[in-house]
């Protein structure tokens, strides 16, 4: 057991980005954010039927919270659960990307 834990730790150290989406997938996710999230939050994420998702608007929220909302949606609002379309690590990456501001 200890040995296995050691191996896992090794693996994690060897592939620190294993949980991170690949560059190609990241590009897809940016498109998804702009166009599919953008359908409600605005193409530039300034907000629409959904609230703004610009870094300033998200400053008070932590990435875990945001990634939870992305995966599970918000009851009582039109925000749908994106699990099934996104993995946990992809949702986490999106949450962090939104907080930092999208590339480009």
């Amino acid at each position: 057991m200890e040995r296995m834990a050691g191996m896992v730790a090794l693996l994690l150290a060897a592939f620190p980005a294993a949980a991170q989406p690949s560059p190609a997938r990241r590009a897809e996710l940016v498109e998804l954010i702009r166009h599919d999230c953008g359908a409600c939050h605005g193409l530039t994420l300034k907000g629409g039927l959904g609230p703004p998702l610009e870094p300033a608007a998200l400053a008070e929220k932590d990435a875990e919270q945001l990634s939870f909302v992305i995966l599970h949606g918000r009851r009582g609002t039109p925000m749908p659960p994106w699990r099934g379309h996104l993995t946990d690590s992809e949702a986490q990456w999106i949450a962090e990307a939104l907080k930092q501001g999208l590339p480009k």
């Binding site: 702009r34 166009h35 599919d36 953008g38 359908a39 409600c40 605005g42 193409l43 530039t44 300034k46 907000g47 629409g48 039927l49 949606g73 009582g76 039109p78 749908p80 659960p81 994106w82 379309h85």
Partner: protein, 383 residues
């Protein structure tokens, strides 16, 4: 003056299909290239692109209405931009930023007023259609959705958070009169006026049903139709909100996307009861009746957004499935319905179909196309 006329003529001949230098606008239209902040000017006779007009700002969820002579397009951008474009010269005639965050607009029955619907600050603003001078505003304190024009130079819209429908009589445009209908239902997300101009219907996100207003008798208030269509079942996730407009009408029926169900609901306009429900492959976004009302074409939210299903109104079932491209965002028919124009955002194309044979007639390149708006809307109430 002479120079102006010469310039105008040069511009006209640029767009003309004939050698006379003159052309009509009845077969023109615009395709929104939303990421580029640009519109593509198209014509549906030869099915070609005629040019582009740039510099329109943030066009996510952009919508377009036309002047009553179908010469000018008014483009409402998400960033509050309102742009008046001359279709014949393919040039911006006027452009203003009228709010911080807008969702759409409408043009009045007499064509003299353009109303923009805003999220921030919530409300509508009424402009002179000729000059874009601000004439008045109606603050709402809530997000405005589903604005449409109605007879009597009225604008009708819903308030998302407030669950209300407001009817604004703008026959005195500097002094609009507001009729407020409260408690019409939870979270109206869009609304439309029927093609005859008599009824306004708001789709509800927060409950299963729609709100119906008889615009001949607004004093009677709104009533619920198709109430409880979800039958208490857990709604499926909605990855894109449906869109409502007068295209729902096919003869005596209205074809309305269900929210959170993979169905189109068919509402009988005679007795306002459910006539049918038609199972579909995904969450419908647009359900658009072909002119003549024989068929209704439906597109979908993720993950089925590469498909279009066609419903036969006589049989009340899906009779055809098309794959026009990835991320189908919008469909628009030519005025008499012989062609369907369909935008595919992720294939950067507008596909044109023959509606009789379902054959693809052509495919025009377009940069991330979203809405397609043909000038036949100029003569239609509620568009």
């Amino acid at each position: 003056m002479k120079r102006l006329i010469l310039t105008a003529l040069a511009a006209l001949s640029l767009l003309s299909c004939s050698t006379s230098g003159l052309r009509g606008t009845g077969d023109l239209g615009v395709v929104v290239e939303r990421a580029a902040g640009r519109i593509l000017l198209v014509e549906t006779t030869q099915r070609t692109a005629l040019g582009r007009v740039d510099g329109l700002g943030d066009l996510s969820h952009a919508s377009v209405v036309f002047s009553r002579d179908a010469r000018h397009a008014y483009v409402f951008g998400r960033d509050g931009g309102l742009t008046k474009i001359d279709l014949l010269s393919a040039r911006i005639e006027r452009r203003i930023i009228q709010s911080g965050n807008a969702i759409g607009g409408a043009i009045s029955q007499d064509g003299r007023l353009v109303a923009a619907a805003n999220y921030t600050p919530g409300g509508i603003r009424i402009f002179d259609a000729g000059t874009l001078e601000l004439l008045s505003e109606v603050p709402t304190g809530a997000k405005v959705v589903g604005i449409a024009d109605a007879p009597g130079n009225r604008f009708v819209f819903s308030l998302f958070e407030a669950g209300a429908i407001w009817i604004v009589d703008a026959s005195q445009p500097r002094n609009p009169q507001v009729t407020k209908l409260e408690k019409i239902g939870k979270q109206p997300y869009d609304g439309f006026v029927t093609p005859d101009g008599r009824h306004y219907i708001a789709g509800l996100y927060g409950e299963d049903g729609l709100a119906l207003v008889d615009l001949w008798h607004p004093e009677r208030g709104a009533r619920r139709v198709l109430q409880g269509y979800g039958r208490g079942e857990e709604p499926l996730p909605v990855f894109k909100m449906p869109h409502l407009r007068g295209w729902a009408a096919a003869g005596r029926y209205l074809f309305l996307p269900a929210v959170g169900r993979h169905e189109v609901l068919v509402l009988d306009r005679v007795d306002w009861t459910e006539a049918a429900r038609i199972p579909l492959r995904g969450q419908p976004v647009f359900a658009v009746a072909q002119p003549g009302g024989r068929r209704v074409w439906v597109n979908f939210a993720l993950p089925d957004n590469d498909r279009v299903q066609v419903i036969d109104v006589d049989a009340m079932k899906v009779v055809k499935e098309l794959r026009p491209g990835r991320a189908v965002l919008h469909m628009e028919f030519t005025p008499r319905g012989e062609q369907a124009w369909i935008s595919s955002r992720d294939d950067d194309a507008v596909a044109v179909y023959d509606t009789a044979s379902y054959a693809e007639l052509t495919r025009l390149p377009a940069d991330k196309p979203s809405g397609i708006f043909l000038t036949s809307r100029a003569g239609m109430t509620g568009f």
